[in-house]
């Protein structure tokens, strides 16, 4: 008998993992995935949803999203919310790349406008934005300035000449969580953060020049300022070594804390501490600081993207209407208010490989978009489409306002390199009209789109279950990879 036999289908593409699955569960599990995805899903990921449901103070459901896969402790593509009264905070529920996220920039350009300059644009992006393993950012911070980056995030960046004041309006949290505290970030994390500020990194991180090919909801697309044929730019990166170190530091502290507070956890990597403990509060403030670093990072990259377009096309970025559509965090803990059994309750929402998808009316959404729900940006992989969706009331009711964050890896890097060669991939991309520039041939083979789950399927499941609805599809025309 498979463990999947214990799981009940509630409605199309929605499944319930009942409390009988694991006796220690304090909530049921919820899984948003299509039949095929369910069939192929690793049992380890289902166990992880159930394990998270065993943590103290969990509210409503432990949730798996359409792109769920096995992670360390917590699954990737998961959401869990805890009560501040008897609940916990866990660094494993965020992961190493704190505030890894996606930003999208619009333009008033069409493919025709840039067709002859594509090579130059790609070269300029590649040159102006440091990327790849062991890459240094190109700026030098003043003594202690890293603390301002950590405390003020994208606000620091704008004040220092990176981008426009109005950009801040269109970033989740306006690019700065005020409760961040740089004194809770170790010297080690700061030292890793200083040289890497303003760099893309490696792996699945990218900058893409894209084209809007399909609009699924004309009205909402108009509100987001997107239309068919428009050139857009997408940036996918996070908090670099700074965030990785904050996670490592606090995983180590939590490994002692859960024993100290006698928290019974089914897997050591779910190490956590009670919400009001010093350990949890220190992590929260350090994690917010790393999140701010990531927003500063994406803000600086935005500035250099605009500069690159300005230099190549000899036009002002404002004249090209290069405003920020939105910026989402997909690895983060947030303190949010949600309705539980008819009452508004303060909760600690962990999103690991999950995108916030707040529905219409929420104050956190910029006024310009508030009536239709927030933009949700779901990046594809090298050579595949990415999507813009909008948050919904169903997400507010069922998933603490959350949906998927991407495609999710299917093949290991070694397998990808066995199955694909960089030459083949470059040829294939070329035949689709996509230009690519990467720091190494290895990364091209490792990041082959065939090594990832099908993004179209992930987004479709989000749409059919209603936890975020599709607004627009964009396809890449040029990609830079670290």
């Amino acid at each position: 008998m498979s463990i999947k036999d214990n799981i009940n289908k509630i409605r199309e593409n929605v499944w319930e993992i009942p409390g009988t699955y694991n006796k220690k569960m304090r909530a049921t599990g919820r899984l948003y995935i299509d039949d095929e995805g369910f069939e192929n899903l690793e049992e380890g990921a289902i166990d992880q949803i159930a394990n998270v449901a065993c943590l103290p103070g969990i509210q409503k459901f432990s949730i798996g999203l359409p792109d769920i896969h096995f992670g360390y402790g917590f699954p990737i593509g998961g959401v869990a919310a805890f009560s501040p009264n008897n609940g916990i905070i866990s660094p494993g529920g965020v992961g190493f790349d704190i505030n890894c996220g996606v930003r999208m920039i619009r333009t008033n350009l069409t493919q025709e406008d840039i067709q002859d300059k594509m090579d130059e644009l790609l070269d300029a992006l590649f040159k102006n934005i440091p990327s790849g393993v062991g890459s240094k950012g190109k700026i030098t911070l003043k003594e202690n300035e890293i603390n301002d980056v950590l405390d003020y995030g994208a606000k620091w960046a704008v004040e220092n000449g990176y981008g426009w004041q109005e950009d801040l309006t269109f970033l989740e949290e306006n690019g700065c969580i005020e409760d961040a505290d740089s004194t809770k970030v170790s010297d080690k994390a700061k030292k890793r953060g200083i040289p890497q500020l303003g760099s893309l990194g490696s792996g699945n991180h990218f900058i893409e020049i894209q084209k809007v090919t399909d609009i699924y909801d004309e009205e909402i697309a108009k509100v987001f300022g997107i239309k068919e044929g428009m050139i857009t730019i997408m940036i996918h990166t996070g908090s670099r070594g700074c965030g990785h170190q904050v996670c490592s530091d606090y995983l180590r502290k939590m490994d002692r804390a859960y024993k100290k507070y006698k928290i019974d956890i089914p897997d050591r990597q779910l190490a956590c501490a009670p919400y009001d403990s010093d350990e949890a509060q220190d992590y929260l403030k350090a994690m917010y600081a790393a999140a701010n670093y990531a927003w500063a990072n994406r803000q600086m990259i935005t500035h250099w993207v605009r500069e690159s377009f300005e230099n190549v096309l000899s036009k002002d970025a404002k004249d090209m209407n290069m405003g920020v559509i939105y910026d989402v965090a997909h690895n983060i803990v947030k303190e949010e208010t949600h309705e539980i059994k008819g009452n508004n309750s303060d909760l600690i929402v962990h999103r690991k490989g999950a995108t916030r998808a707040f529905g219409p009316g929420r104050n956190e959404i910029p006024e310009e978009y508030r009536d239709v729900g927030q933009p949700v940006l779901i990046p594809g992989t090298m050579g595949t489409a990415s999507y813009v969706l909008h948050g919904t009331d169903i997400a507010m009711e069922e998933t603490f306002g959350s949906t998927a964050h991407g495609a999710g890896r299917l093949l290991s890097r070694t397998q990808a390199k066995k199955d694909y060669s960089s030459e083949e991939i470059e040829k294939d991309l070329e035949s689709k009209g996509i230009k690519i520039k990467a720091t190494s041939k290895n990364v091209i083979a490792e990041e082959a789109s065939g090594a990832y789950k099908d993004i179209d399927g992930v987004v479709k499941t989000s749409d059919t279950t209603g936890i975020a609805k599709i607004v627009a599809k964009v396809v890449p025309i040029a990609v830079t990879k670290g």
């Binding site: 096995f70 393993v133 062991g134 990785h244 890896r409 290991s412 890097r413 070694t414 720091t439 190494s440």
Partner: protein
């Protein structure tokens, strides 16, 4: 005396990469774990040994010692902009504490010469283990990429 057949090998993890490093002594197994790490980041056969760093670490058990050792290597790689290819480790135990003294050598990164591998984000605790198998030391771990 039998000798280890290989310094380390990798195993597949969907999103990341795992390693098992071998040694005739615990010291050697840790040294080979360092070697495995820099063969993920680059190719150690092409990294000169012209710059030396010394450090020590104290931890509560051997697994934590391994974690802290690899984390320190990652830290030095990132902030000193270095690649390492030579690792000398001496592990000792006093009372309930383990101490590791390391002397490592390498070369400053020059991506025109050095092969670009993968960026390691962090060391994970997943499956991390230090054991003795048929007289050989084996250390195991996963790098988050």
């Amino acid at each position: 005396m039998k000798k280890i057949k290989q310094p380390f090998k990798f195993f597949d993890v969907t999103a990341d990469i795992g390693f098992i490093a071998f040694g005739n002594t615990i010291n050697e197994s840790f040294e080979n774990a360092g070697l495995a790490m820099f063969n993920v980041i680059s190719d150690t056969t092409n990294i000169a040994k012209n710059k030396e760093f010394d450090f020590f670490i104290e931890s509560e058990d051997e697994v934590s010692l391994l974690y802290d050792f690899l984390e320190e290597l990652l830290f030095l790689h990132e902030i000193e902009f270095m690649l390492f290819s030579d690792f000398k480790v001496k592990i000792s135990k006093n009372d309930n504490n383990f101490r590791l003294d390391a002397k490592i050598k390498g070369e400053e990164i020059n991506w025109d010469i050095h092969e670009r591998g993968s960026e390691i984000k962090a060391i994970t605790y997943h499956l991390m283990n230090v054991s003795v198998n048929e007289g050989f030391y084996e250390v195991k771990g996963i790098f988050d990429l």
